[in-house]
Symmetry: C2
Subunit: 178 residues, 2 copies
């Protein structure tokens, strides 16, 4: 059975409303985009699989001109699958970090190489914080008093915590490096 992980991300997004593959990509890019990305090359095949498995159903909007819009929505089986996944414990995996790998072997190159990597990392975290601020605004604008909002904010504040900690580490490490 294909795409265990992506499957649930898409099911979750579809729980927010019926959507096309294109819509899923758009919505995911800002809502869960800072900790979960999907490509079209993954989205379309997985939607097909899940339709066959009866987890979602598809309706076709006839639009004049443009290609047809395939709108997917959860079936009861899909909703059940999603809830079961939610309750299962998180599998803990060590995410690979190219940055840390390069720093670990930093002694092989001039210090400036490591300094550059760290400076770049700092910059990216600054940018991330700016994006989080945008998302926060958008959430306040578009999702006023949705009961799910606290959960969405939780993931945002996680990102913010990590980014802030990363920046502090960058500053301290850069100063130690000289």
């Amino acid at each position: 059975m294909r795409s265990n992980q992506s499957r649930f991300a898409l099911l979750g997004l579809l729980s927010m409303g019926a959507m096309s593959g294109y819509d899923l990509k758009q919505l995911s890019s800002w809502s869960v985009g800072h900790f979960w990305r999907e490509s079209y090359g993954q989205i379309y095949p997985v939607l097909k699989d899940m339709t066959q498995a009866g987890l979602i159903r598809r309706k076709t909007d006839k639009t004049t001109g443009r290609p047809e819009r395939h709108v997917y929505s959860l079936t009861p089986a899909g909703r059940k699958e999603l809830n079961q996944w939610l309750a299962r414990p998180v599998v803990d995996e060590v995410p690979r970090s190219e940055l840390l790998l390069k720093l670990f072997f930093g002694g092989l190159a001039p210090v400036s190489v490591s300094q550059d990597h760290i400076a770049e990392h700092r910059k990216r975290n600054t940018q991330a914080l700016a994006e989080y601020a945008e998302i926060r605004k958008r959430l306040d604008r578009e999702c006023g008093n949705d009961p799910r909002k606290p959960f969405w904010l939780m993931t945002l504040s996680y990102g913010e915590s990590m980014a802030n900690a990363a920046m502090q580490w960058c500053d301290q490490t850069l100063s130690e490096l000289g």
Copy 2:
């Protein structure tokens, strides 16, 4: 050309001394283990590829009884490849987080589900901190005044920073939830 990422991890480890596939696994598990993991199913094929590509060379230790030990060491070409990789900018990718995905959709289930996920995450970070402390000790014991030690410590302190920030976030979020 196979295994772009693992390639460099293994080249890096081999820069610390000639080693067998088995040794690479052992060494990596504690040295870079908290941000980089390799499986044997990846290590052995990649070693084969890199040998053919001339980045490493292999010598066979005849041991009585036990299977032969294949000890790999860097060639000048391998060293060059490693140095070029070190200097290239880090590709930034969004690591997927099953935890955050589950929390994002937490509104679909009882709050206790999310609370459990967070509590478990907290526990894992506590354990991680304990492991980092062990590595720190081991580093002091075995690598007294190695000039590369500051770089190794850098990656450790990164892990500690992240783990501490994660725990603070867990505490705060749990208190807000309940």
